[in-house]
């Protein structure tokens, strides 16, 4: 069996070559319910009154039970990876387990995970993984319940699973069937960061040019026009956005909010697509026109890094994107706008306000030969104590645990971000309208993202009308889900 697997891997590698790369996400869904639910019954632990973050040494388990083992962890470049690099010696001293962290770009990491899981070699014990990645790799990630419920391995009172934000626990709980809702099944990932999407804006420019903080999409478009100015000899663009070339991220950050705010589910529960619903077409047109007319050159292919750098270099006045970017905006060593920013909720539509989310977390390899040691690592690395240090010292944001978000250490770091508006805005978003908006799916996300993104790009470049672009995107999306057998018209 193992040899067969090896041959399969060799066969594939011979023809395809071994390559490297980066995470490209997936396709949409949307549940216009503002607030998700769920902590799985099997692992639900009542949160103790007055629960506080305590150091690992106070957990009632024998941390040294796997001493002498060596773990290999696959990571991608990320502030949390920096935090692990800085803190892993603490774990090694605590447990006697040696940790090797292997960091590669996203695409290379995905290739390594795929090869490892497909061949069953168990090269890596733990993977850094996010939600669309999980959906692909779910069959070979380990369900954590067995380890969480083993008192020799986990002190549940110390670990406190319920400390996670509920939408985070819901996001990592699934039965593994594409199209099925999150929140039921097994936990196979434990988040280390999360994000919600909020308005981040240059308060100094808004004040100077007398622009009101927008609360609707139309106000965003109008503000972008007013803020596209030459300010003190510097060209400032009114608005930036994540790119549209790969559509997944624009849906995750803003388009789900636009569609759901108008009461339209862009891809409904039957995987039927409604991108061209007349109620939404003018807003999508407005969004893309604003990107084109008041966004920086090349905005249509922006990755999150380009979005952050546009704001941090002082070239852009406003963005609605991941709240975690404030850790960069407000860092004077990395940003020219520290202290000039303010934060507010993303715009709302008549049907309400909706934010998607993304998490990064740690998943365990089914083929790991050191599962107990790997679990001890995951338990330590996702504990409130470790995540607090990752956030407060290494600026790994957002912490996915409430105790960490509310800790004095994190509060002290963020208290001046937008004069406190960051924390208020994020807490409101997490409490009221942040949830995983895409339906579970694994294999088609890349194709969906490229095809839908391709039509949006054609409109952006003036080659087709907005109606034509959204109709073609709808047809392409429906065909993809038809081919996968997910669509039930």
């Amino acid at each position: 069996m193992h040899n067969r697997s090896m041959f399969k891997s060799l066969a594939v590698l011979l023809v395809l070559g071994v390559l490297a790369g980066c995470g490209a996400p997936a396709a949409p869904t949307a549940t216009p319910k503002p607030q998700p639910t769920a902590v799985p019954q099997a692992t639900a632990v009542p949160q103790a009154t007055g629960w506080t973050i305590r150091p690992p040494a106070e957990a009632k388990i024998n941390w040294r039970q796997e001493a002498g083992k060596t773990l290999t962890i696959a990571m991608t470049p990320h502030p949390y990876t920096n935090a692990l690099d800085a803190m892993k010696s603490e774990f090694e001293e605590l447990t006697g387990i040696k940790v090797n962290i292997v960091t590669n770009p996203d695409t290379a990491t995905q290739t390594k995970i795929t090869n490892d899981l497909a061949s069953g070699t168990g090269e890596f014990d733990v993977f850094f993984s996010g939600h669309t990645w999980d959906w692909n790799y779910w069959p070979h990630f380990v369900a954590y319940e067995e380890y969480l419920n083993d008192p020799t391995l986990t002190d549940l009172e110390w670990y406190n699973l319920e400390d996670y934000y509920p939408q985070m626990l819901e996001s990592v709980t699934w039965d593994g069937v594409e199209g099925h809702k999150l929140g039921t099944g097994k936990i196979k990932n434990l988040p280390v960061t999360m994000e919600t999407y909020i308005l981040a804006y240059r308060k100094d420019l808004f004040d100077k040019y007398g622009v009101k903080v927008p609360t609707t999409w139309q106000e965003v478009f109008d503000a972008a026009e007013k803020l596209t100015v030459v300010d003190n000899g510097v060209q400032v663009y009114g608005f930036t956005s994540t790119g549209i070339a790969s559509a997944y991220r624009i849906f995750m950050t803003n388009f789900h909010n636009i569609y759901l705010g108008q009461g339209v589910n862009p891809v409904d529960e039957n995987f039927d697509s409604h991108f061209d619903d007349p109620k939404v077409v003018p807003l999508i047109k407005g969004y893309l026109d604003t990107m084109k007319n008041y966004g920086p050159p090349g905005v249509n292919t922006n990755n999150w890094n380009a979005v952050v750098s546009g704001i941090a270099t002082g070239q852009v006045a406003m963005v609605i994107d991941g709240d975690f970017a404030a850790a960069t905006y407000e860092n004077p060593e990395a940003s020219q706008v520290a202290g000039k920013m303010a934060y507010a909720p993303a715009p709302a539509g008549p049907n309400g306000r909706f934010s998607g989310t993304w998490y990064w977390g740690l998943a365990m390899n089914e083929f790991s030969k050191n599962k107990k040691a790997a679990w001890l690592f995951v338990e330590w690395a996702t504990s409130a104590h470790t995540l607090r240090e990752a956030a407060a010292v290494q600026r790994s944001f957002d912490p996915p645990r409430e105790s960490v978000m509310n800790s004095p250490e994190v509060a002290a770091l963020v208290k001046d971000w937008g004069d406190g508006s960051w924390m208020t805005t994020v807490k409101e978003a997490l409490a009221n309208y942040t949830a995983m908006r895409f339906q579970t799916q694994g294999q088609v996300t890349g194709d969906w993202s490229k095809q839908v993104g391709g039509f949006l790009t054609q409109y952006f470049e003036g080659k087709i009308t907005i109606e034509g672009a959204l109709k073609s995107a709808t047809d392409a999306s429906n065909k993809i889900y038809d081919d996968k057998g997910l669509r039930k018209p």
Binding site: K8, N300, Q443, T457, E461
Partner: protein, 309 residues
Amino acid sequence: MMFEASTSVKEHVSDWVLYARKNPMAMWLIPSFLVACIVLAPFAYSVYYSFTNYHAMHPDQVKWVGLVNWIKMFQHPNFWQALNVTIRFWLMGLALAIPLGLGAAMLLNQEFQGRKVVRALLIVPIMIPNVVAALTWNIMMQPLGGVLNFFLIKLHLPIQRWLTSTDTALNSVVIIDLWWSIAFVALVLMAALQSVSDEIYDSAKVDGANGLQRFLYITLPLLTPHLILVAIYRSIDLLKVFGIIYMATEGGPGRTTTTLHIEAYDRAFRQMLMGEGLPYALLLTAVLVIIVGFLEWLWGRSRHFVGAE
């Protein structure tokens, strides 16, 4: 039966040993046989799995599906688009690399101050991994803040969207590939130029041939085998291109720079559909074998023509 079979095997082995004693050169067949097995066995597996529903996360549930994956590929618009991009990338890359590389080689073949330094610098791009080259160019080609647009602005020329526009993305990745590969072309052709005897040029000069005539009637014909050889190497790189495009554009915007290799990767490693990805990879292999085979045939003919064999 067992006894007969093992006797028969023993007889075969002893026959082969006898034959090898009489013909020691036959021993060299063993490594060739091993190499063939190492290369061909996974290739044969690839062909086999292209006829199955092999899913990377369910390698234990492989079922034979016949021609389904191949038919799906030929019916899928992505395939024809990816084939088109692959061929265009190959043609553009080749059509520009060879004349530019030849021009650089001829310049570097001249005596001039600092020639050694320039030659040493020429090797630098070859030593840089193509992925690093693509990432660096990606930064340089950023429409906002990229150094290329900075110079265009200084020259009062319109800025370009480079990798971010469906109109310019493919051309831009060709530029990146050229920067990375042109030194290789120039070095090979420079070595070839140095092998051409000066006496031939001197005789032509005496006969009154001007520079263009000497290039057209002496340099070019004598370099033809080398040009074709370079075309073979470049064709292999261009048709198999992955790192440069993936790092620069991930195959976008839209599908503008999605080649067969990237399509195969997306299907096999992103969508986990190994069975569906393999026909794309195998077809790319077939295209490569046909093109390189034709160039090799041309190479043989050209060597014959210039009397190299």
